[in-house]
Symmetry: C2
Subunit: 203 residues, 2 copies
DNA sequence: GCTTTGTCGAGACGGAAGGTCTCGGTAAAG
DNA sequence: CTTTACCGAGACCTTCCGTCTCGACAAAGC
């Protein structure tokens, strides 16, 4: 019996192929518009107009605006925070935090991050993407911690440390009441390294 | 010369007065709807309908939806986290964090907080209100820390500690990847008390 | 070359939501 | 009993997302 919902096509793909130029033009337009907009929301129509593309071409390949933003962000991730492998946990933590803070200080990535969060507040699908993204960042940080097993107290709560780091990062990034400075990065790295080494205090 | 933009009325207020019942009905409707909606967005029309009130009556007294939400939230603040004054910094911090976490676990307040954040992502005016709100919370926490000067290292970075606490709180609250449990509250309180006592580690 | 098939740009369209405007009615002050 | 300001109700405008339609065009197979 034939399944009408069968995904396998009855014959190979024959029609016109995806236009790679359009894909690049869309992602580039997103980054340019976000950088120029200075935090103001960027609409789908604006993106399509700037990319010289029909809206349908966007929605054919991405399920929502948030998905486009996230792909543009990961495209930026060539400058991503690469996990260092230094001597001490404290040094590694500090350079990880510093790189994270610096990435967020660059207005190009900051604009994408901010828009992504705004989108996640509106679109549940975008919220899922953000959750996946933040989870991958947490995993990277956990791997860094696990790379220094001799410096970790046996009962150290790594999840707590990870969330303190990224919690402070997002909190300051979004509220912007205090800068994500290199000094703050150093202090945070040192404090969390000490916390990891001390383990939880006895009750 | 007469200033047409003069704010002072040429005579005392004479007309009909503000209906206090309507005000209460609006704020109550907001809380009820948010609690029932289970996180789904609540619209102005729904609020007006539920409160038996015209939309204009809402916009006459509040500049935006976010402002209504915030007033409803501060109305809830009778259950607010009251700064304790115990023996040790660690005990005070732990009970402060525990109370904060528990407040966010109550679905009634959690729904308002979530909606407020959603609104802040859209409406700059609401974002300002949220900034003011979070600032007052930070002030309360700083006051708690300052209440134990003998337990603070002279070079302790109080802003860093405050932001670690609220950063982790909001991060976990909004991402919900990990619970705001009493255990986590205890661990966080202990870790931050230790950090405050140790001060910044020497370079 | 011709047909089929899937993508392209452009834009009309529907729907949701916030916020404004209007209108007839009503309570308070004088 | 007149003026003033608020009230409920709802039409209305605007913005923006996401879908649908249309004629054009490119790739694959015959």
């Amino acid at each position: 019996m034939t399944n009408p919902d069968d995904d396998t096509p009855r014959r190979a793909h024959t029609g016109r192929r995806r236009n790679e130029d359009a894909r690049r033009a869309i992602l580039d337009a997103v980054l340019v518009l976000l950088a120029e907009s200075g935090g103001a929301p960027v609409t789908i129509d604006t993106i399509a107009r700037a990319a010289g593309v029909g809206k349908q071409t966007i929605y054919r390949w991405w399920p929502s605006k948030g998905a486009v933003l996230l792909e543009a962000l990961t495209g930026l991730a060539g400058d991503v925070v690469s996990p260092p492998r230094g001597e001490t946990l404290r040094a590694d933590l500090t350079s990880f935090v510093t790189a994270t803070f610096r990435g967020a200080r660059a207005e190009s990535t900051a604009a994408v991050l901010r828009s992504l969060v705004r989108e996640a507040a509106r679109d549940p699908h975008a919220a899922d993407l953000v959750r996946t993204f933040t989870e991958s960042r947490r995993d990277a940080l956990r791997a860094l911690l696990a790379g220094h097993p001799d410096e970790l107290a046996p009962d150290a709560d790594l999840d707590l440390i990870v969330d303190q780091l990224y919690g402070l990062f997002w909190y300051r990034f979004l509220l912007a009441h205090r800068p994500l400075s290199d000094e703050a990065a150093g202090a945070l790295g040192a404090a969390l390294a000490a916390q990891a080494g001390a383990g939880s205090v006895r009750p």
